[in-house]
Symmetry: C2
Subunit: 589 residues, 2 copies
C-alpha cells in the first residue's frame, strides 16, 4: 500500500525490517514515562507498534514525554529488534520496536469522555452516544471490516454467476400488504408521499420482465417498526432474482454464495444444505427457523400418555391438539424453582402449563404420575431414549402452541446447559410453507410470505375452493436458529396472480387499483422467475459472533432514539413545512 | 454458468456446438412464417439465436406457427450450421441455428403497448411509462450492465488499497448549510423529522476519527431539487475518505481508480491527470469544469484592443473588467444570423454583447473595425494564431461574466463544428479554489465547497481578517466538460473549524447548536484527513456515451413525475397521518 506520509502501517513491521528508517502515523496508547525512558504504543487500524525514546534524544524526548494517550502523532524512527525478554509473540510487530528520531503531534486529544480500553466496563448507552470512540475498539472495527468483506464476496460471486447489480429507487410508492412504511412528503405533488422501500420486490420482478435474467442488489430497506435489539428501522438486504428457474437453481446459487461468505469469516461449510418442510421443522424443533446444531427434538407422545384417564391430555387429543415432549439429559437435577421458570417460558408462548417426568434414583417422579402410571412413564422415557437422571417436559396444546412453546424451551435449555457446539454453522432450508394464513383481526386470509409467491402447481385448483390448503413455492434459509433469508418462485401468470389477490380478499377493482400496472406487466412477457432476499446484518452478526445487530452496524439506532446527533430526527423550519403543505397537529408530546 | 432449465444462453452457441442437443429459454423475436418453414430469433440478455422448424415437425411446427413476438418460450433442439449464404458474421451465434425438436410456451404475451425495436421512434414519455419494456433494448441494458461493472471495479480496487466500505445511516439529521433535504416524519418522536442524507460527509469524517483510516461507500444520496435532465432527486455517490493524507495521496488513489473504471468501459487512460487552478480554468476555458478535449482557448486581449478610443472596451478595462476573445477557425463564413444566435447565448450568461472580427477575402470586417482600426485587428488575429477565413468573438465584461459566457460559446461552437474528438476521455484536476463566496441574498460568506474543507495553511491568518482572500484545499475532477467529483483536505483542528464557522456567519452559540457534537469529536483524536465524492451516474453516463443521466438509471424519475406507478408519491391513509401527527394543509393543488 502506497502512502505518501507513512512508509508503513502500525501492523506490519517485523524483524525483517530491522535497521530501516520508517515513518508511522497513529494514536498514542499505553504511554509510559519511566523518567529516563519513554515507551508508547502507536496504534492504527492494522495494529500496534511499540515506540521508544530515551533521555539522549534531547528535544524529541521532551516532546514525547508530554504526549498523552490518544494524541494523534507521526513518528520517524529506526526499526530495531526488541531485547529477547521483551518480545511479544502474540502480535505481528512483537519482535520489534521503533526507536524514534522524530515525533510530530498532529492533533492534541482531550481526555476521552468514555473509557474505550478493551476490558473497560462502560454502559451501552454511553458507548452508543460516543459511537465514534467506541468504534476504535478492534473487536467492533473487525466486525465492520468482516461486513465489508462479506458484501464484497457476495458481489464478486454473483457477478461471476452472471448476476447484474441494479439499483432500484429509494423514493418509491407505498407497498400495499406490507409492514408500515416510512413516508417522505413530496414538495411537488402536494399532500402526497413517497415511501421508502421495504424491499425492492416489484422492481426486481419488473427487471425479470425486462430480461435482465439475473439481478441482485445489496440495498437498504426500511420498516417503521418499534426498535428491538435484533431489529433496526433501516436494514440491508442481499436481494436476488433469477429468470427461468425453479427451486433447485435458487438453492444451488445461494449455497455457493454462502460458501464464499463463510470462507471470508474463516468457516468451511458443506453443501448442499439440509432441507426440511415447514411442518417437519415445527414438529421436530418447534420453530420455522430451527437451530439444528443440537438434538433434543420434540416428540409426539399422545400414543403413550393418552387413554390412561388423564383428562387434560385426553381432551387435548380429542380436540385435534397434540402432546409434545422433549427430554433433557441430566435434567432430573432441576429444582421446583427451575421447573417453574421453564413453565413461565412455555406460558409466555401460550401454553397452559408444563408437565414433567423425572427419572431419579427413587424411580419416576411427576405431579401427574398417579394419573399416567409407572408403565406409561417407562415407555415415555424409552421412546425419548431417556435414562435415569433425565427429565421429560410435556406440553399438550394446539399444534402451534405446543410446538413453539416447547421449541423455545429447547433452545433456552440448550444454551443454559452448553449443548450448542461453538464455531458451527448449521444451515437448513425450510420448504413447503402454507400459502396463506388466516388473519383473525382482518377476517381474511393474508399471504404468509407475500402475494407474489407462486402457489404449488398441484394446488392451483384450491385457490378458489380452499385457500387454507394451498401450499406455496416458498423457502426460507435458517442458520443457527435465525431466519437469514426467505424467498420463493413467483407467479408469472397474470390469471393466477389475480386469483391470489382474490384469495386475500382483494376485489378485481382493488387489485387493479393497487397492482394494475403489475398485472399488465405480467401479460407483456413475464418469464418464470424466482428469488430470495437475505438480511446482511444478521448474517454478519452470526458469523462475527456478535450479540446484537448493533454490533455490525457502524451507526445503529438505539431504543432511546439514536446514537449520534447526526442521526436524531429534528424539527424542520416553517418555510419547509409550508412548502410541503403539512402541519404538525401536536407540537409537543 | 450452470442452469438447470437451460443448457446455454441465447448468446453462446457457435459452430463448435454443431450436433449438440440444447435447451434455450427466452423471448421470440422476428417470427417469420413462410408456410412450410418457421423461423424465429430467440432472445435473452446475452444474445439472439435463430430457431427453425419445418412442416415435417408435425405438432411442434403447428405450435411454433402460432407463436407471436415476445412470447416467452423454451426451445429444445439440435445445433446445426446455417447454409453458407445465411451465415451472419456480425454476431457470435451467426454461424448456427437451432433445429427445434420441442417448443414450450412459458408465458403468452399480449401485443406490446410500445414498439421497442431498436430503431422505433417512440416518445420519451411513453418509453418511461413502460420502462420495463424499454429496458429490453440492448443499448439500455448494456448501459446498466456497464454501471454494474464500474461499481464492482471501484469496490475491488478500493478494497485492494485498504479501503473499507462502511454503510452510513439513511435516516439521519438534516445537514445545516446544505441544499433542501427530503424529510421523513418520525412516528416515535412526534413532530420531528429525519432527513435523507445529501452526502455522508460528517459520518465519514467521524469514521476517520474512529480510526478506519480508509473508508468508501457507493451510496444513494438525496436532494429535494426540481428535476432537470441531468439531475435526479436520488443519485449515487462514490464516497471516499482517507486519514493521514494530503492532496497528492487522494489524487493518486483516485487516478488508479479511474484507470480501472475506464478499463471496464474499454478505455486506456494516462495518469497522472492534468492539473489546473480554478483561476486558470476560468481564464482559459471559462469554466470550472473545462472540456480540454479541444483547444479554442480564451485569450485576454485588452493589451491589443484598449487605448484605441473605443469606449466600451476602455471603460470595462478601467473598471477592472477583462476583454476575452476566442478564435473560430473558418468562422468567417458565419452569417449575421449565426452571430446573432451566438450573441444570444453570451447574453444568457450575462454578457451585454458579443463583438466580432472576421478576416475575409476582402480583409477585416467588424462593426467596430472603425473604432479599433486595421492595425490592431491584425495584431488580434496574430495573437490568436488566426488567418484568413477565421472569426474572433469578444466579450468585455467582469472576469466572471466574460469568461463564462465565452466559455459556453466555446463549447457550443466546438460541438456544432465537430471539433470534439470522439472516444476521448480528458480528465483534469481543478485546484486552488476560493474558500468562500459572498452570498448577496444572505449577506454573508458561504463555503464554496463546504465548511469542513480546510483552508490553505498559509491563509489561516486571513480567516478573521479577509475571508474573501482565503483559498481552500479543495479539488474537483472534471471529465470532458463535466464535474464528476469534488473533495478536499478537511479541517481536523477544532479551533480552525470554529473560525471557519465564524467566517460563514455562525456565532459560537449557533456553531455549538448545529455542530457541537462534531466540534467535540475533533478534540478527541481527529487525524488529518481528506476525501472526495464522485457522481457514479454521471461517470457511467459519460463512459456509456449516454445522452442523459436517465440512460444509466434503471427506474429514473421524470419531469412529468415518475416513470412507473411503483415510484409515484401517493396518498397515505388517515390512521398513518394521525400516528405521524401531521396534517395536510391543502388537500388539492
Amino acid at each position: 500500500m502506497k502512502l505518501i506520509n507513512r512508509t508503513h502501517t502500525c501492523g506490519e513491521l517485523t524483524a525483517k525490517n530491522e535497521g530501516e528508517m520508517v515513518k508511522l502515523c497513529g494514536w498514542i496508547n499505553s504511554h509510559r514515562d519511566l523518567g529516563s525512558l519513554v515507551f508508547f504504543d502507536l496504534r492504527d487500524r492494522w495494529g500496534i507498534t511499540q515506540v521508544t525514546l530515551d533521555e539522549n534524544d534531547g528535544e524529541v524526548f521532551e516532546k514525547a514525554k508530554s504526549l498523552r494517550n490518544w494524541d494523534v502523532v507521526s513518528v520517524d524512527g529506526i526499526v530495531q529488534k526488541r531485547p529477547e525478554n521483551m518480545v511479544n509473540k502474540g502480535m505481528t510487530t512483537g519482535e520489534i520496536e521503533v526507536k524514534a528520531t522524530d515525533v510530530k503531534l498532529l492533533n492534541k486529544t482531550e481526555a476521552l469522555p468514555i473509557n474505550i480500553d478493551e476490558n473497560a466496563k462502560v454502559s451501552e448507552e454511553l458507548r452508543l452516544k460516543y459511537r465514534y470512540l467506541d468504534l476504535r475498539r478492534y473487536p467492533l472495527q473487525n466486525k465492520l471490516i468482516l461486513r465489508h468483506k462479506v458484501a464484497l464476496a457476495v458481489r464478486n460471486y454473483l457477478n461471476e454467476k452472471g448476476f447484474v447489480e441494479v439499483e432500484t429507487p429509494m423514493l418509491t410508492k407505498s407497498t400495499p400488504e406490507g409492514a408500515r412504511d416510512y413516508v417522505v412528503p413530496s414538495r411537488i405533488h402536494t399532500g402526497k408521499f413517497y415511501a421508502l422501500p421495504q424491499s425492492p420486490q416489484l422492481f426486481k420482478q419488473l427487471l425479470m420482465i425486462s430480461g435482465f435474467d439475473r439481478y441482485f442488489q445489496i440495498v437498504k430497506c426500511f420498516r417503521d417498526e418499534d426498535l428491538r435489539a435484533d431489529r433496526q428501522p433501516e436494514f440491508t438486504q442481499i436481494d436476488m432474482e433469477m429468470s427461468f428457474v425453479e427451486e433447485e437453481d435458487v438453492f444451488s446459487v445461494v449455497e455457493g454464495m454462502m460458501k464464499e461468505i463463510c470462507k471470508v469469516a474463516g468457516f468451511e461449510i458443506e453443501t448442499p444444505f439440509k432441507r426440511m418442510t415447514y411442518k417437519e421443522a415445527m414438529e421436530k424443533y418447534g420453530s420455522d427457523k430451527p437451530d439444528i446444531r443440537f438434538g433434543m427434538e420434540l416428540n409426539e407422545i399422545s400414543d403413550i400418555v393418552c387413554g390412561a384417564g388423564f383428562k387434560v391430555f385426553d381432551s387435548v387429543k380429542e380436540n385435534n391438539g397434540v402432546i409434545k415432549a422433549i427430554l433433557v439429559k441430566g435434567g432430573a437435577e432441576y429444582s421446583r424453582k427451575n421447573i417453574k421458570d421453564f413453565e413461565d417460558i412455555a406460558k409466555s408462548y401460550g401454553a397452559k402449563g408444563l408437565a414433567w417426568f423425572k427419572w431419579t434414583n427413587e424411580g419416576f417422579n411427576s405431579p401427574i404420575l398417579k394419573f399416567i402410571g409407572e408403565e406409561r412413564a417407562e415407555k415415555l422415557f424409552e421412546k425419548l431414549n431417556g435414562e435415569k437422571g433425565d427429565i421429560v417436559f410435556i406440553v399438550a396444546d394446539t399444534f402451534e402452541t405446543a410446538c413453539t412453546s416447547l421449541g423455545a424451551l429447547r433452545v433456552k435449555i440448550a444454551k443454559e446447559r452448553n449443548l450448542i457446539p461453538e464455531n458451527t454453522l448449521s444451515f437448513v432450508w425450510i420448504t413447503y410453507f402454507p400459502m396463506f394464513e388466516w388473519d383473525e383481526e382482518e377476517k381474511r386470509y393474508v399471504a404468509m410470505h407475500h402475494p407474489f409467491t407462486s402457489p404449488k402447481r398441484e394446488h392451483l385448483d384450491l385457490l378458489d375452493k380452499d385457500p387454507s390448503k394451498v401450499m406455496a413455492r416458498a423457502y426460507d434459509l435458517a442458520l443457527n436458529g435465525f431466519e437469514i433469508g426467505g424467498g420463493s418462485i413467483r407467479t408469472h401468470n397474470m390469471e393466477i396472480q389475480k386469483k391470489v389477490f382474490k384469495a386475500i380478499g382483494l376485489s378485481d377493482k382493488e387489485a387493479e387499483e393497487k397492482f394494475g400496472f403489475f398485472l399488465q406487466a405480467l401479460k407483456l412477457g413475464a418469464p418464470p422467475h424466482g428469488g430470495i432476499a437475505f438480511g446482511l446484518d444478521r448474517i454478519v452478526m452470526i458469523l462475527a459472533n456478535g450479540e446484537s445487530i448493533r454490533d455490525v452496524i457502524a451507526f445503529p439506532k438505539t431504543t432511546s432514539a439514536t446514537c449520534l446527533m447526526t442521526e436524531s430526527p429534528s424539527s424542520i423550519d416553517k418555510r419547509q413545512l409550508e412548502e410541503l403543505k403539512i402541519k404538525i397537529t401536536e407540537e409537543k408530546e
